[in-house]
Amino acid sequence: MAWLDKAWVDTALETLTAFFLIAGALITFISSFGMVHLRDFYLRMHGPAKATTLGVGLILVACMFYFLLIERTFHIQLLLVTIFLLITAPISAHLLAKVALHQKLPSDISTTGAPSELREEDVGQEPDTPHPEDPGSGQRHSP
C-alpha cells in the first residue's frame, strides 16, 4: 500500500485524528454537561443514551486513524467497542427509563403526555411478602 507512505497522507491522517478527537471529546463533554443541567431525569437520560455513545465512537475512530498514522495498520478491534456500545446503550437507557417510571420520578412540567406509569394508580405487583422493615407487619420466611 504504497500510497500510504505519501506525506499528504500523514497530514490528512493527522488532521482527521485531531478532528475526530476534538469532536468526540466535545460531544462526550456536552452530553455529560447536559446530564448536569437538564431539568428532569427523562431529559438527562438522552445525553448518555446516544451522545456519549457517539462521542466515544468518534474518539475510537480518531484512535484508529492515529494508529493508521503511526503503525500503518488498521485496528478494527476498536470498531468492536463501538458496536458493543451501540448494542448496549439503548438497552441501558431503556432499563433506566423503566426504573424511573417505576419510581414515578416526576417529569418536567413542560412535558406533554402523561403515561400510565406516572399516574397514581397502583401498577405494581401485589405484595406476596410483607416488607421486613415495615413496622407492624409480620415477617414471613421463604422456606
Binding site: Y42, L43, I91, T111
Partner: protein, 163 residues
Amino acid sequence: MLIKRCLPRPILSSILTMVWIMLSDIITYGSVIMGIILGIAIPLMTQRFWDAQPVVKKPLLLLRFTLRVMLDILVANLEVAWLISRPWRRPRPAFIEYPLTLKRDFSITLLASTISLTPGTISANLRLDGRSLLIHVLDTDDEQAIIDEIYNRYERPLMEIYE
C-alpha cells in the same frame, strides 16, 4: 441436514467469524481459520439459549436499514448535542405512546434500540403485553409526526425484513 445441524445460525456464525478477525486485529490464514472454527462452535454451544430464530427475509433491506440507522445516529447525536448545549431554549419534552405492529421480541428490540439511538427519542417502556411502546421525546410539538416517522422509517422496514 448436516449443514443445518452444524450451522444452525449462518448469520451469527459469519458475524462471529468477522468479530474474531476484528478482535485478532489482523487478517491471516490462522485468524480466519480460527474465526471459522469459533463461528461454528460458539453457536452450537449457545444454541440452547436462543429463542425462536429470527429469519431474515430480505438481507439487502437489512443492510440498507442499517446504513440508514447509522446515519440517523450521527444526525441524532448532533441534534441532541445542539439541543443540550443551548441552555437558553427550553426543550419541549413529551411522552408518546407508540402502538406496535411488530410481534417478535427480536424485532421489537431492534426497533426500540433504533428509536433510542435516533433523534431525540428514547424508548422508555415496553408494555407488558407487547402492544405499545412508551417513548420519551426530547423536543417536539407534533407527536403524531414522530409516530409516523418512526413507523415509516424504521418499523415498516423491520416488518419487511423479519416478519
